[in-house]
Symmetry: C2
Subunit: 643 residues, 2 copies
């Protein structure tokens, strides 16, 4: 068609160079992990009975520990690598392999080990970290309860201080207080970090973490500890999730993980952080690494799926012109490009955003104290990115499965495991819907601060700006204004839509506009005397949309910065196309909102769709190199349709 | 909030009455099937090794056959029930249970039995139907090949007539010609309907179906027949899918299923249908029942998922107002309502559309000859509805799993099986992307016919209408016009959006506008000398969108008609709310398009979002009764969080 003349000259993309660029500062760790995964003893398995699968996964976890693969984030003095960033890179890369193994290592080293490291103090480190890093001491992270998954502050398990014996007494007061879904609990865990309501005399200072031994050396539950098996799950059946209950289980006072709060011998409660809410979120905040790791793993799973589907689409032919010699490649169909190319672009975008959040986390854990606001910003970034990558993984794996037709349904082609094992990523380490509200609340807090800190003239400008915008919208004048501005030479059209500054402006404008308008709605509701809880719930869809807009913009910023700093012209051009596709596809998807708010004219909105189609064609030309650059060895990818 | 004053008085909904309304004309069959499924011998199983699972599924298939459950669609003279509509209703209801059993019955009675019944003639019926209906003769439907799934006309298997012996010789000429994914082939199948290119002398009249025995009485493959196992799949592992190849396998001439084409003793090819393309599609068209059945099963699976998620959302509490006595029910959160209520509404909509297509199929198969145009319309409806329900099932099951959090990930709560087993529904009986194009092509054919049959003045009106619309869009005048029309008393706003005629008008307008515009684009491309194949591919996203718009409108019509003919006032009101929610949520989802084409003003578009939120609140009040009305016995639903 005529429009093909718009297409730029084909780029000849060097997938090795691109792989190095993607690997970034942790290239070596990633290479080593890929080589390790390619060994026969780590080959993906399929169809093992659960009991056998669990043992195999435990064994592989020990193998990885022995290879030094899992201790990178721990201090060197306990046998670790002292490099948080490297540990995240290793975890992300491990996600190319069996995801039960990945989650088992996450439980052992990230959750249990992380709780000891971040919530405990030196005596806990001394006591547990060495044997944790080698996996000799399998541990659990016992937070979630049957009755309370998302609302951790409402947990029911109690830890009552008994000054007579200088012990805490751990109890499960109801059926709903059973610890649920605890990885490592059903078979292997010897010890756990148990989250419980602390009772010290009459004080109820909230949820704290305690080290509680679970099993003796023969693997039998200790007195007062009840353990049940969660049974078969949708996926991740190599991980032994279990339930735990405690009946008057006594542990020494020393077993309180006491970095942020202590109980003295005489039963006095002390904490540097006076506000109980803030104390709770400080403790939880140190566990941020789990969210960053799940996000990274989800991104890796999407890379696996896309590598398989894109390669299949470049081999498989079906139908074709009636008079043609050969059938048409699947990836030459527009609908097929539409299914896979924007998701490939988004996978790249999320990769670079993940690099940003991992680097910030590394910095926060390596340096000294982080200012509270930076800490909250990092938590918000991690929460938001976890939502976006896990949602993206679920969506992309499904689309890729379908794009491979019946072949995608054969277990050997990996989608069975990819789908089942990643499915819970949207739920664990924070349910996505709950996390989106955390993100929004954090934005609203910043917004309030910003509002409060404006000098009076600034505030007038700010409010006036809002009012003008609202009026403009109502009268549709903005749209007409847009229509006038849109009258530009046709030859400039394409340049404009591919202008990254313009894309960034559109994404930022949406975020700011939504935030201002949701703040206005909330304020109006409360000012009118409605219950804040109900007001917030009434605006919840708006709140969640705002959080999404924020994250999409953050991811765009990360991607655009990565394009800018790329020094290789060919790579930069290819990454630039992907970044354009990510941005324009995101805007296209929400074009209803842009049109409603007069920020896009109807003509421009249609042009975005045209441009997304053209970008899909451009990216399709590089598709083989773009998935090769994920660097997944055939022995790890396995799928016959893609190796 | 203030807007709650808009809400109508709560309806007190009688779920039994609603169930009877949903059951429709086949209430008795559905009741019997539900009772049968509730027997212990049909309880869902989980975690069985594949070999055992396959045997269990074969056994359950025989049990169902013995209960008369699976022969309803066959002629009474062979032991069937002679009622196609009843057989579809039974199949739909069976989908509440184990889906491997369902698919096994689909293969045996629908595909193999259906091929013999519809493509064969009396001698084939006499020879095979009795033992097919009792499941004594397990059969296969061997169409798909490794190299050709969607493009059936390009199959490579050959059936060459040998007049010397009065036989056909079946051959698999290449690796790609292996029959793939054939249900019943790996273990149980004794015989197959094999689709192959017929060679008669020099004639190559295309793909025909042949009865080919596969195994002897001991279950050993017959000479020349190679059988391989497809191995583990993502789901449906109780069905023994296998691969088949043939090396000089000889079958009597009588084994050609010869309803539409015959080969005489002297090697003369005869068919009433001269055009080979039309002949092929006539043969394939008789297999339409498979699509209708898969669509129905997908709808049932969505009902299972929603029943579980809605009940969980009405029991599970999490978080709550800081000063409140109790936590808030999940289903009282707006985001939770947004996840589940529009999907519940769509499930109802698809139920009534399924009722329509099943009734039309029943009529077509029960009566005499159906005019070609009606036949194509039925095929288009069946193809389109199959796409929409299977896509809906995949989406809904996923959303429901996530809405149940970690509990949704436990296998006992059914989502594991629901997700895995229904996943391939979007692929089999016609890949959804391919089917959407069939739907669009059929619409374009009608459009051309309609265009051609217009008298000259009519044509002028028609063309003028198109031109005016295009001009109007370009100048944005329509949007301004809409804005003026929108200036109506605020009190009328709600009435208008809930006006079903208005909703229908919006849905029809989109369909017609899209069809006209895609036709114009295709014509322009071809008129400009571009290759039609490339032109079609260039417009493929537009084409597919048009097909979707068509199906959404058809489903709306079916739902609206069901609301209208409901005589019980309470039911009609509840169904009316659901129908409004279905329509407005569909329009909201595509509001970008409506805004782009000036059919919605920005204000009205925002009002639709508000109205969808209000409708979600209304429907939530009825949610318990609305899922109870699906009538799934606890023994069939099983999930502990929902029973």
């Amino acid at each position: 068609m005529a429009s093909t003349s718009y297409r730029p000259a084909a780029i000849s993309l060097d997938s090795d160079a691109l792989r190095r660029y993607l690997d970034g500062p942790y290239r070596e760790v990633r290479e080593l992990t890929r080589q390790l995964l390619a060994q026969p003893e780590h080959a993906p398995v399929c169809g093992l009975p659960t009991a056998e699968y669990r043992e195999l996964v435990m064994e592989r976890t020990r193998l990885l520990a022995a290879a030094g693969q899992t201790g990178m984030g721990f201090p060197e003095k306990y046998g670790g690598g002292g490099d948080v960033g490297a540990s995240i890179a290793a975890f992300e890369t491990l996600a190319h392999g069996d995801l039960s193994v990945l989650v088992k290592t996450g439980v052992q080293f990230g959750l249990w080990g992380g709780a000891v490291l971040h919530l405990g103090t030196e005596r806990h480190h001394e006591a547990y970290l060495r044997r944790t890093i080698t996996a000799e001491l399998p541990g659990c992270f016992a937070m979630t309860e049957v009755g309370h998954g998302s609302d951790v502050q409402a947990l029911e398990t109690t830890a009552t201080f008994d000054s007579a014996t200088d012990e805490f007494v751990i109890n499960t007061p109801s059926e709903g207080a059973w610890k649920h879904y605890i990885g490592n609990a059903a078979c292997h865990g010897r010890i756990a970090a148990v989250f419980a309501q602390l009772h010290v005399g009459d004080e109820r200072p909230g949820v704290h973490a305690f080290v509680v031994p679970l099993r003796d050396d023969d693997g039998e539950p200790l007195p007062g500890v009840s353990i049940a098996d969660c049974g078969e799950k949708l996926g991740l059946n190599g991980v032994d999730n279990g339930m735990l209950a405690f009946a008057d289980v006594r542990i020494p006072r020393d077993n309180l993980l006491d970095r942020y709060a202590q109980v003295t011998e005489t039963g006095e409660y002390r904490s540097e952080i006076e506000n109980p809410n803030r104390r709770f979120f400080t403790m939880i905040g140190t566990l941020i690494q789990g969210r960053v790791c799940v996000g990274g793993a989800a991104g890796t799973a999407a890379k696996n799926a896309l590598t398989i589907a894109v390669r299949h689409g470049l081999r498989r032919r079906q139908f074709g012109p009636p008079d043609g010699d050969s059938e048409t490649l699947l990836l030459d169909y527009r609908t097929h490009q539409r299914r896979l190319m924007p998701r490939l672009a988004r996978t790249y975008a999320l990769h670079f955003a993940q690099e940003v959040v991992a680097a910030r986390l590394h910095e926060a854990f390596s340096g000294g104290d982080v200012p509270e606001r930076d800490q909250r910003e990092l938590e918000t970034y991690a929460a938001g990115l976890k939502v976006m990558t896990t949602r993206h993984a679920t969506d992309t794996i499904q689309e890729c499965r379908e794009a491979c037709g019946g072949l995608g349904y054969l277990a050997e082609n990996r989608f069975a495991a990819l789908k089942a094992d990643t499915d819970v990523f949207t739920t664990f380490e924070g349910d996505n819907t709950v996390l989106l509200q955390l993100v929004a609340k954090s934005l609203l807090t910043d917004y309030k601060d910003q509002f409060a800190s404006l000098d009076p003239p600034g505030m007038v400008r700010f409010v006036a700006g809002q009012v003008v915008e609202t009026v403009v919208e109502k009268s549709l004048a903005r749209q007409l204004l847009g229509a006038l501005v849109d009258v530009i030479p046709a030859s400039d059209d394409e340049r404009e839509l591919r202008d990254r500054d313009y894309q960034g402006e559109l994404l930022r404008w949406r975020e700011e506009h939504m935030l201002a308008s949701v703040a206005r709605r909330l304020k109006a509701g409360i000012d009118n005397g409605f219950d804040p809880w109900r007001v917030f719930n009434f605006c919840q869809d708006h709140v969640v949309h705002t959080a999404r807009a924020h994250i999409e913009r953050l991811v765009f910023d990360a991607f655009a910065a990565s394009v800018d700093r790329c020094e290789d012209g060919q790579l930069r051009e290819a990454l630039g196309q992907l970044c354009d596709l990510y941005a324009l596809a995101a805007i296209e998807e929400d074009r209803g909102w842009y049109l409603e708010h007069g920020r896009l004219t109807t003509q421009r909105s249609k042009r975005i769709t045209t441009e997304v189609n053209l970008l899909c064609m451009d990216v399709r030309e590089q598709a083989a190199a773009l998935v090769d650059a994920f660097g997944i060895p055939d022995a790890v990818l396995v799928a016959p349709i893609a190796t």
